[in-house]
Amino acid sequence: MSTAPTLLSVEGLSKSYGGVHAVREVSFALRAGEILALIGPNGAGKSTCFDMLNGQTTPGAGRISLLGGDTTGKKPREIWRLGVGRTFQITATFPTMTVRENVQVALVSYGRQLFNLWASTPRFARDEAGRLLELVGMSGYAERPCGELAYGDLKRLELAIALANQPKLLLMDEPTAGMAPRERIDLMRLTAGIAREKSIGVLFTEHDMDVVFEHADRILVLNRGSLIAEGSPEEVRRNPQVRAIYLGEGLVYDARHREGLPS
């Protein structure tokens, strides 16, 4: 794994809002096929990191390079074209379209057909969309209006959309937030499976430590905008600073992990 090429490298990334240092001097690297978790309490700056990585927010300082090229300050759509899929903490989908159509739009864009005024979209890449939905276990919902979906299903739909451009990197901001425990485990297992199979790099945030420890190859710990720890799950678990933060939050992940949830 360590021989895999570097997909994403971030140096000295910072962003502040007014007086608040949302993200401070964050540096890390992500290799192809690696699953990297970014954890930290609420307000630590995780979403801000994601927003800078996919171009939603312009970094205050620092450098982001993706696949060897500098992408600092590029627009979301340019970064997407480079092969980055993204899911949002608060899902963003197209509520007036069906589930399948949501994926089809992404495929239309990937196929550079956005200005095609003639073809019939309902027939466009139907099977491809079906395959992606099948991959995330949403085949049964393909013709449902997306606005009617339960939150957990929306999260899975977002994953399907994010996979539409055959990404090399997936950015997943709290992919399992708002899901039942069972669904969380399923979704992350699914994501990890797809990532390993296609050698996609994944950066994700997650509050459920069981999910994090089960799937992450490496973990970054963010607190008040700064990285305070980085390493394998085992190393991070033993880190006293990390423990302090999480114990302070009342989240005794160690105990829960030992008990083990149904797998």
Partner: protein, 629 residues
């Protein structure tokens, strides 16, 4: 030099009313998030009521008391409007709020004529400010000096109100974060009502103070609202200081624009607005709005292409329409042609509004440009009719390309205000540039060539083009481009995150809609044999909006039905009553409050209800319950 200085002072004096009205609009928007299109109507009411009161009360005290009492009276009217109408639509989509307040404007126009008559009314001069002071041989009315002093005083008073009173602090808090105020346990209802009252008071005061300067008439409302929209777009919606600065800027541009481009002075204001929009899209003092979180519309029914049966029905409908000349006379055919033309026009706006989520309040601009395009080509270049019909709409296309580029930089209420302002600019050019457009007299003598001249031939031509246009827009709606456009409407965040350049997609849609509207305008010019500035006017833009609303904003082709029903009703209405605006305005308000889905939308909902009551959905329910956990 002295002349320029006096011109400058005149500009400053004109800024006073503009500032009062614009600040009222901004304050209301800040708290309620409603852009009150009826603000111009309140301004006009202020002027009319003040006229009556200052005539009634005598003496200097009577005059000034009349001004203040008039503004208070109108503010009370505003409170009633807020309680009866606005409270019902605070949570409705923006479009419906804009339409409802626009409907009010129409109603007030007719009411004002009913009460005060159609003629211009000249008010009293202001006691104590009747004379003029001389400045290097130029006269400056003292009333102008009074107005110049007034704006900073009002600005200061508003500042004190918002900084130093508990109410003001609440209003500021509500402007920044509405939920927080609700959480503090403040009675939000009355906060909204009082804010609305203040805003209306300012508008009415602006109108009342104009009576010594200007005649009172029933077109004041639209004139001021367009200027005010320009002011708030430049200054930034929600900012009082922005309203002040922009009011001065716009007034000065108008004052000096007349000197630079005497014929088309409005161009100068447009250029400044364009620059501001490029540099700071949310205005000089405005803050960037977070995109609205709520779903764009009322329902989430996905759209589908026509089924086989529906397609046959559409062909059958067209066939029946094509047989009209066999059974009816010339008058019915002319009406039929006009309806077909409005079907095209409404369908083009519907494409922009429903597919793109961009509610244009100035779509007539492109209709009218198409009509003028025909006039120029036929009268000046002498081209044959077919060439004219093909090339004429290109003027609509060109206009849409220019204005659309700026308009799509913004969205929601800003988009609505901007499109309205653009349409007014085009209208003013057509109206003022007499040498080219014939001004008010229009361009006459545009008759179709022989092959299309008979009522039946022209009717067939019109419904043929209408069928083509509607079909083309439908195909585009279901094309990849149409889906990309809907994607930008549904979620800007997601569409940018899957590689869609939203602005370019929306601009293209604007150009498509403008071109199709131009086609309608071109046919209209041939139908009427002439072109007038009216075909660019606000009332035509509103007609189109109502057709779309009536048919159903959230349907694929509701505009077709909406245009047919609306046009027939309005032709009938005009023959029945003089108060067509009152009725039309009332209908708009009623539809927004009671019938927002429109005819086709209602039918679809009924059909879905019937379909849905049959099979249960255990899987979906189960996942919902899990999600809720």
């Amino acid at each position: 030099m002295a002349f320029y200085f006096v011109q400058f002072l005149t500009g400053l004096a004109s800024a006073a009313s503009l500032f009062l009205v614009a600040s009222g609009l901004s304050i209301i928007f800040g708290v309620t998030r409603i852009v009150n299109f009826a603000h111009g109507a309140f301004y006009m009411l202020g002027a009319y009521v003040a006229f009556t009161l200052t005539e009634r009360f005598s003496g200097a005290l009577g005059f000034w008391a009349g001004i203040v009492v008039a503004s208070l009276v109108v503010a009370v009217v505003g409170v009633l409007v807020e309680m009866v109408l606005l409270r019902r639509i605070y949570h409705a989509p923006e479009l419906f709020q804009l339409l409802a307040t626009f409907g009010l404007t129409l109603m007030v126009q007719d009411l004002v004529v009913m009460i005060w008559g159609p003629n211009d009314l000249l008010g009293r001069r202001a006691p104590g400010f009747r004379g003029a002071v001389e400045f290097f041989g130029q006269n400056i009315p003292t009333y102008d000096l009074f107005l110049i002093a007034l704006s900073p005083i009002v600005l200061g008073l508003l500042w004190l109100l918002f900084q130093r009173t508990r109410w003001g602090v609440l209003v500021r808090a509500a402007t920044q974060d509405r939920d927080m105020v609700a959480a503090l346990g403040v009675n939000q209802k009355w906060l909204f009502t009082s804010v609305f009252a203040l805003g209306v008071f300012l508008a009415a005061l602006g109108g009342a103070l104009q009576i010594p300067r200007d005649a009172v008439h029933h077109a004041l409302d639209l004139r001021i609202i367009v200027d005010v929209f320009v002011v708030v777009v430049i200054g930034g919606l929600g900012s009082i200081i922005g309203a002040f600065v922009a009011a001065v800027l716009v007034s000065e541009l108008n004052a000096f624009g007349i000197l630079i481009f005497p014929k088309i002075s409005i161009i100068l204001v447009f250029l400044v607005m364009a620059v501001v929009l490029i540099v700071r899209p949310w205005g000089l003092f405005g803050k960037q709005e977070a995109p609205a979180r709520r779903t764009p519309g009322l329902t989430v029914n996905p759209w589908r292409p026509l089924s086989q049966g529906e397609r046959i029905a559409a062909w059958a409908g067209l066939a029946v329409a094509a047989m009209l000349p066999l059974v009816s006379g010339d008058y019915a055919l002319t009406v039929g042609s006009e309806i077909a033309i409005f079907v095209i026009f409404a369908a083009s706006l519907h494409f922009l509004m429903s597919v793109g989520g961009l509610a244009s309040f100035g779509h007539a601009a492109y209709f009218g440009l198409g009509a003028y395009g025909i006039a120029f080509l036929a009268k000046m270049a002498g081209l044959p009719m077919i060439a004219c019909l093909l090339l004429g709409p290109l003027l609509g296309c060109l206009g849409a390309a220019i204005f659309g580029f700026f308009a799509v930089q913004l969205s929601g209420v800003y988009f609505a205000m901007l499109t309205l302002a653009f349409a007014q600019i085009v209208w003013s050019i057509a109206f003022q540039w007499v040498a080219v457009t014939g001004g008010d007299n229009g361009i006459l003598g545009l008759w179709p060539e022989k092959w299309a001249a008979g009522p039946a031939s022209f009717y067939w031509l019109s419904i043929g083009i209408a069928a083509l246009a509607v079909a083309a827009l439908r195909i585009i709606t279901f094309s990849p481009f149409g889906y990309a456009l809907r994607a930008t409407r549904d979620s800007l965040l997601r569409s940018e995150a899957i590689g869609i350049d939203a602005k370019r997609i929306q601009w293209t849609a604007f150009v498509i809609a403008g071109t199709v509207a131009g086609v309608a305008g071109a046919l209209f010019a041939y139908l009427k044999g002439s072109v007038f500035p009216d075909s660019l006017g606000i009332s035509l833009s509103v007609d189109a909006l109502v057709m779309v609303l009536l048919g159903g904003v959230e349907t694929v082709s509701g505009a077709v039905i909406g245009a047919i029903v609306y046009k027939m009703l309005s032709i009938w209405l005009v023959s029945q009553t003089d108060l067509s605006k009152l009725v039309l305005g009332g209908v708009i308000v009623l539809m927004v409050v009671a019938f927002p889905k429109g005819i086709v939308g209602m039918l679809e909902t009924l059909r879905n209800l019937r379909r849905r009551s049959e099979p249960a959905k255990p899987a979906l329910l189960k996942s919902r319950i899990e999600g809720a956990e």
